[in-house]
Symmetry: C2
Subunit: 319 residues, 2 copies
């Protein structure tokens, strides 16, 4: 059994065209019938302010399948531990043998989420868009900025509720060779942005419908569970195109759940990202359209990352 | 992170009173409200004749929780690999950190299933019963015989569809210091048995209602998925007491599912094993009653085994 630490995995897979292609294919697998995706498992630890999610699945044709166990224990920082942790197990899809234990501590989730945000945004924004605003200044904002820098020539601005954290993130990005600027005012930044990506744990809308200009594309990645919301419900309702990585998840507990609960959108109004990426469904139609992608996270992405790690660990370069 | 191989785990936990008590408590946890047991995850690989089950959960008060990933790939023996494989991950219930990887290759499942069969049988049979018939000659029959030998003074007989396999099992048990005899004829053996434990992959009933004498207790552990059946539906219907480890599982895809589908029993006719073990529900009432326990396997048992392993690895002796 191959066993890799976070540092080893970081050395094998990062933001580049190969891993982006793996993530892109992971979305397409959902809509072309290749993905076997059982419901996400969940275990709550209310007394410890923690929870655990188990994401697993298989993409037809893949030689491996993956089980990701990710835990969030939100009081951990007080005792010097990270709040998020994770491990990915990779098994042979032909024999069931455990092939690898990826002790990535959540790195692969961060990576695939950042890549997914950029892949979705670049597929749905106007081709000439060059201004991306990232709303949020945490780990996910870092990986989004890295992904946009690797996959596009977008100019990156970052807004954070706490400006000093946004400034620290811009400095950290600079150390990684990525140029970004702090956006001091959220409304002004939204009005200027051609692409907005929200990556916060917000439970109340941050981005108002009135701030978003025609032609803007928004990708929301923060709302991954009940009670979370980053976009004005009116913004979702007025969008010309609503795209989700996995529609059932998005409508149940993602960003689109709120507009659906309010009766403003229905499943029939939405499209899945994989169908847009593969050309089975139409993406943006007009330059002035407002488009929204809601990404709640899907096991096919984890499988794709695990496959990338294994392929590179074995000396190849293919995902 | 602690990492233990099958051989190391075998050296830490085996059939004895301590592990039996842990298994007993695991059943009680289900019925006294301590167990948080999400639905079992399942992933099928029809083209490889394989499947994968993910069992996980937490027992309130436990410092750890466990995720067991068990795969069965039934064409493996043709390429020299075991058909069953498994790994148990143990996490802190206070911080979510991965504490241990138990690469037990299914050993803990075999052990807890054997112990569970003996614990259930001894709780429900007549106190003076001394003759146990094990139907089946595979790995599970071995561990059942070991468990009965460790926990009782029952005389063990073994019937197998292929007599040479039953004889080989009896020889193997002898090497482990356990005395057992081959039962050449299933009907005659059932008519004589005071306890019958079925541990086969049968998809058609093996044990007929007419063969089972008044006062007999039967524990069925083979039917752990749709399509499997070891006991005559009439036998289940005529039993005076039907007990399941987890009633929802048993009625859905365990031994009791067939009698329920035929309209012969209902959930209200059944009791859960933990309630009997803790005294909350009545077990056997009369010496002449026929009692049946159906064990489909529950994650609390896996948690209990993982807890035993960790406790002993850390130098203690408590489960």
């Amino acid at each position: 059994m191959l066993q890799l630490s976070r540092a080893q995995i970081e050395g094998l897979v990062t933001v580049d065209a190969t891993s982006a292609e793996a993530v892109r294919d992971a979305y397409v697998a959902i809509t072309d019938g290749r993905a076997n995706l059982p419901p996400v498992g969940h275990l709550g630890f209310p007394q410890a302010n923690g929870d655990c999610h188990i994401k697993y699945g298989h993409i037809a044709g893949d030689e491996v399948f993956a089980v990701k166990i990710a835990a969030g224990f939100y009081d951990n920082p007080a005792i010097g531990l990270p709040s998020s942790t994770g491990v990915v197990l990779v098994f042979s899809a032909r024999t069931g043998q455990l092939e690898a234990l990826l002790n990535d501590e959540g790195y692969l989730t961060d990576l695939r989420t950042g890549l997914g945000g950029a892949v979705a945004s670049l597929a749905l924004c106007r081709p000439e868009a060059r201004e991306v605003l990232i709303v949020g200044s945490g780990t996910q904002a870092y990986w989004l900025a890295r992904a946009f820098a690797a996959l596009s020539d977008m100019r990156v601005s970052i807004w954070g509720r706490r400006p000093e954290r946004a400034a620290a993130l811009v400095a950290r990005l600079g150390e990684s060779g990525v140029t970004a600027a702090v956006a001091p005012d959220l409304e002004a930044a939204c009005r200027r942005a051609e692409v907005i990506v929200t990556a916060t744990p917000a439970t109340e809308p941050l981005v108002r419908a009135a701030w978003v200009q025609p032609g803007c594309h928004i990708t929301a990645i923060g709302a991954d569970g009940p009670g979370k919301q980053e976009l004005d419900t009116d913004l979702v309702a007025k969008a010309d195109l609503c795209v989700a990585d996995l529609l059932s998840q998005s409508l149940d507990h993602g960003e689109f759940a709120h507009a659906r609960a309010a009766g403003l959108i229905a499943a029939a109004d939405c499209t899945e990202l994989g169908a847009v990426l593969s050309g089975r469904a139409k993406g943006r139609r007009r330059a002035e359209d407002i488009t929204i992608a809601d990404l709640t996270g899907v096991a096919t992405q984890d499988i794709a990352m695990a496959r990338c790690v294994l392929a590179r660990a074995k000396g190849g370069n293919q995902p």
